[in-house]
Symmetry: C2
Subunit: 354 residues, 2 copies
């Protein structure tokens, strides 16, 4: 296993808050980060270099690759052409297969089902006719989602009644889609799992997630799981990482149901539901990811505190003065400027018990 | 009290590891940092901007001041002329008086004694004759130190015998100096204390320091102090901060003696002996300093873990692979490149108990 030497440069595709916290973690390990981001880059405040260029700019991509020792990413929707070029120049971790699978909901579900893991029942939908057939077979309510580029509740619509089918399909703009059957679940949990370059796996304790309007609001650790469920959750995550020969941190969202754990979604990167690790663990998810990508040994995922992570979305950020006064609460802001509805402005980790 | 708004810029004089960790803390609160550093600047890896220019470059200082909302510093030996110019342009926190006092060992001792605080017995030394008289009056052993620009054991020499006086004085190169009488102390502790723009004071628990060759090696928290000694230590620190109308974090080094606490030295900045707070407290000393400087409420200094902080000096950094494997140890590296003897390369915080 080759370890990245002190002072080496890590390239990060994407310059949002995840890239920002990755760059800070990299600095703790003596590395420097170069951010590549077409738009605004809060990560640039704490990085050595920022390249502001579209993913189609071949010269910018080449210069970026030349300046770094390894490339990672903070979001999964980097265009394939950019990745093809970058991969020919420098190692990309996690690897392309993880990205390709998670970029497409249908590939992801096929991959998971082939591994023997349960998902919500699903059907590919490429027309109104498909949608009608899928609704018949899976039953309603169900959720129609584009197969690509969906996040934070975007590109999806809930179907409660067959009468809504034409409008629902129209709202997809003919994008390849998938209908997901409704799953009665007790709770949603996620496992933040890491796999090192040497194949070792370390998982943080599962957290319990609450969403509102398709956006994560809170993660509470520990999740309410039986010991058997907790062990299952970790095993599911480890199986996914090993199958992908994955290197880095992955977020694995699971539904806890009467019939066991279902995989809702995987994210091949550090994950919002893992922010609690900043206050609950000696090595947080960001450092864990950098350790993996840099070929360093993974840190111990041991949790020393119970934490409630709350996202500060839009005008939630107006509560910051009060949160700064709260004992045992750590505030993390992303430097994004004016709040907009639905925009993640920061998060607060409340340490409940140590 | 005016709070610095989100996205505001904080200027930091000095670009070493303290500036680096201050810049990271500022990012957590949504601020951006501009580093001013004549030499190599590890802080620049995690800052928005770095100005590399001497402290005598008036144009560079003006441009720096124009780009920031408030100015702070990570070390105390910024030349007066630079501070005069900067102060005319933007607020400097902590204020000039704290800097002026701590830049000169004699001013510092006078200030402390005038406050009714004990120091080691001392005498000003400006000649070999002075030194001989001081040695007679204070007794030997004693330590001869330049009044200015000393740190990490530099600019000081121990005197065990009167025969060493000529050589000791010669080694000072005629610099204004001070002879400090030898103090029999049980231990050295330090208090990392903060004072907000609103005058509120918060102290972290005292840590116990071990030095070798004049350089801090370890800080262990909690220090072995009686409850009365702990209370005294915090009161001494608070008295100093209030007397200076101080804003920011200060390191106050104390000797624990049979006759009570003696102040060894004050440092008007975040302090190496406060690095343990990164693993022991929800708000660490770096964030505490930024909160103060930005006019935000101070964080709770409550300690939730026992920590042993160990400096990684020179080739200690070769132990990093092993430290990365150690459960409950957080490694912090400064990105300084090749190790040199006596160079602070990083530190490790071992969480002993939570």
């Amino acid at each position: 296993m080759t370890e990245l030497p002190q002072g080496a440069a890590i390239g990060i595709l994407g310059g949002g808050q995840l890239g920002r916290m990755l760059s800070v973690a990299a600095s703790r390990l003596g590395y420097r980060c170069h951010i590549y981001e077409p738009g605004a880059a809060p990560a640039g405040d704490v990085a050595l270099t920022v390249t502001t260029a579209p993913y189609e700019d071949e010269a910018a991509l080449r210069a970026f690759a030349a300046s770094v020792d390894v490339i990672t990413y903070e979001f999964e929707n980097v265009p394939t052409s950019a990745l093809d070029l970058l991969e020919s120049l420098k190692p990309i971790r996690p690897n392309r297969r993880a990205l390709a699978i998670s970029q497409d909901r249908i590939s992801e579900k096929r991959f998971l089902n082939d591994l023997g893991l349960q998902t919500a029942p699903w059907a590919a939908v490429n027309s109104e006719v498909d949608l009608r057939a899928a609704a018949d077979s899976l039953g309603l309510p169900a959720i129609l989602k584009t197969t690509r580029l969906g996040y934070d509740g975007k590109g999806q619509v809930k179907l409660d009644d067959a009468a809504e089918i034409p409008a629902a399909w129209a709202s997809m703009n003919n994008a390849a889609s998938v209908l997901e059957g409704f799953v009665a679940f007790d709770r949603e949990v996620s496992v933040i799992a890491a796999r090192g370059l040497d194949g070792s796996v370390a998982c943080f304790d599962p957290g319990e997630n609450i969403h509102r309007d398709g956006i994560l609001r809170t993660t509470t650790v520990p999740a309410r799981l039986s010991p058997a469920q907790r062990a299952d959750a970790v095993l599911v995550a480890a199986r996914i990482l090993n199958a992908l020969d994955y290197v880095g941190v992955m977020g694995v969202e699971l539904f806890v149901t009467a019939k066991g754990l279902l995989v809702n979604e995987i994210a091949p990167r550090v994950h919002n539901s893992g922010h609690w690790t900043q206050q609950g663990c000696t090595v947080d998810q960001f450092e864990q990811h950098i350790r993996a990508v840099a070929g360093l040994p993974l840190g111990d995922g041991n949790r020393y505190a119970d934490v409630v992570m709350e996202n500060l979305i839009g005008e939630d950020v107006l509560r910051v003065p009060e949160l700064l006064m709260a004992r045992d609460t750590a505030v993390h802001l992303y430097g994004k400027g004016a709040p907009r509805p639905g925009r993640k402005m920061g998060h607060a980790n409340r340490v409940v018990r140590t």
